[in-house]
């Protein structure tokens, strides 16, 4: 059996989620191809060719693929599916946008957010915000799977696969790209960062969030996250959101500040290696998952933490 991995990239560079998805794919088969679909994405394809264990890289380019239109991905991937027994996509927002469309067109179930490959037909996935793990067995001849990247280690970079350019089929006529506003940040990406500093509703305003959370994150070279409550209240942009309905992260160190620890937030960070919680409410549920808890008002605790970090040479 052969497996196709749909790469995660931003046209300019390949995201690490791709190498993690390759790890999941290699548990299914040793014949793993990677599809890089985009525009001006040759460098991303070359990077994919270096992932250990990749047999071949397919590069397809068009304006619509570069814009990530699901309809364009459907037109490209559905005919390719004839050559593969499984199609794996990292479950990023782009992966979640395109993969179900491909599955439905192939008339198969999507196995979403897989965290463990048990065998070629059996997979483990979180449900109910990660409060339960479901082991499912697929009876479909072809598997369409999204992979939770934090659950797999990235494959190495010792490969030397060939990059083969394939044609991109005609674009969908019913969906038109108008524009995009991407947030430019010097900070590491939330899902790839070694350290994440997150703020919650206790911040009280967007100004306070920026004043408290961001300097601490910058001191630690960390990415910035936020609870859904903080995003909901407009203190932080949506792409900071960590949780069931936002991003799932698993950094070496996760620092939660003024976050109570709602079920839906824990779903997005409880696989972090070390969790620190700073909250003035000693009964906040976040302390049940925290390795280190500091019961204190963030208004005094964060400046003290900044000081202590400076003294420790940070």
């Amino acid at each position: 059996m052969a497996v196709l991995v749909i790469a995660d990239h931003d046209n300019a560079s390949l995201k690490e989620d791709t190498a993690k998805t390759v790890t999941a794919a290699l548990k299914l088969s040793s014949d793993v191809d990677v599809l890089v679909a985009g525009q001006g994405a040759k460098a991303a394809a070359d990077a994919a060719a270096k992932i250990t264990g990749v047999r071949k890289v397919l590069l397809a380019e068009s304006a619509e693929l570069g814009q990530g239109l699901a309809e364009a991905f459907e037109a490209l991937v559905v005919p390719l599916a004839a050559n593969y027994d499984a199609i794996l996509t990292p479950s990023t927002s782009q992966g979640r946008n395109v993969s179900p469309r491909i599955a439905a067109k192939l008339d198969v179930a999507q196995i979403s957010d897989v965290i463990e490959v048990v065998d070629a037909n059996t997979f483990v996935r979180p449900i109910y915000a990660g409060n339960a793990l479901e082991t499912v067995q697929s009876s479909d001849a072809k598997k369409v799977i999204t992979v939770r990247p934090t659950a797999f280690k990235p494959a190495g970079d010792g490969g030397s696969a060939k990059v083969e350019t394939i044609a991109a089929p005609a674009a969908p006529a019913k969906t038109h790209f108008v524009g995009q506003q991407l947030v430019k940040s010097e900070r590491p990406e939330l899902t790839a960062a070694k350290i994440v500093v997150s703020g919650g509703r206790a911040m009280g305003s967007a100004e306070e969030f920026q004043k408290v959370i961001e300097p601490l994150a910058d001191k630690l070279g960390a990415a910035v996250g936020a609870s859904r409550a903080a995003v909901d209240a407009g203190y932080a942009p949506n792409d900071y959101q960590v949780g069931q309905t936002g991003k799932v992260v698993a950094p070496e160190l996760y620092i939660a500040i003024g976050i109570s620890g709602a079920i839906q937030h824990l779903a997005g960070m409880k696989d972090s290696k070390v969790i620190v919680a700073i909250n003035k409410d000693a009964d906040a549920p976040i302390f049940q998952v925290a390795d280190y808890g500091l019961v204190a008002d963030y208004k005094t605790a964060v400046p003290e933490l900044m000081d202590a970090l400076s003294k420790a040479g940070k």
Binding site: I127, N238, D291, L294
Partner: protein
Amino acid sequence: MKVLVPVKRVIDYNVKARVKPDQTGVDLANVKMSMNPFDEIAVEEAVRLKEKGAATEVVAVSIGPVQAQETLRTALAMGADRAILIQTTDDLEPLAVAKVLQKIIGEESPDVVIMGKQAIDGDNAATGQMLAAILGWPQATFASAVELSAGKAKVTREVDGGLQTLEVDLPAIVTADLRLNEPRYASLPNIMKAKKKPLDIKELASLGVDTAPRLKVVKVTEPPKRAGGVKVETAADLVMKLKTEAGVL
């Protein structure tokens, strides 16, 4: 312009799901159930489009047990005009839900379908995209803003790293993200009025749609528990422990 809004009855989002001791699933007996929060946002958006004059009729549809009528009554109380229940005790997978909705769409011919981006029970985030695929309609998922104009919808989407704006030809599928709006609470007079709005019930079997599951649930287990840690007294203490004990600084 007609808007169809599919809604799902799920465990209330404030309730912690508990795995059954026999590992067959999550215990839903005597648990508070509510409308999936993203579907609430979808209903709110549809009702606002009607209030703005961009839509003329809002139809809510649910696939579920007899109690899903309550969920539909909530949609009606929020401002939907009428409701359809496809009654079944089966738990349908996203592909099957999409096929049932396709059938309903064939009968109702809506101009746009607005639905939640994911349900908080299965967490698949797949049904909207699947429905768009089998209908051959354009999709605009994870919407944070929707504008309807003649034959088109302009949708701002939450994507990795920012926002993307698409224009899709109608009919189309839009899935609602968190920041699309803040759903209203239904007022008591509207709750009373909702009881008189039409709610049509059909048996799932009468639709003749193949809803056989493709996935067999082998078991449902509890995730590994994180052992609670220690409390530290000061920020300096914390930094010291992170450095020497945890080794992450």
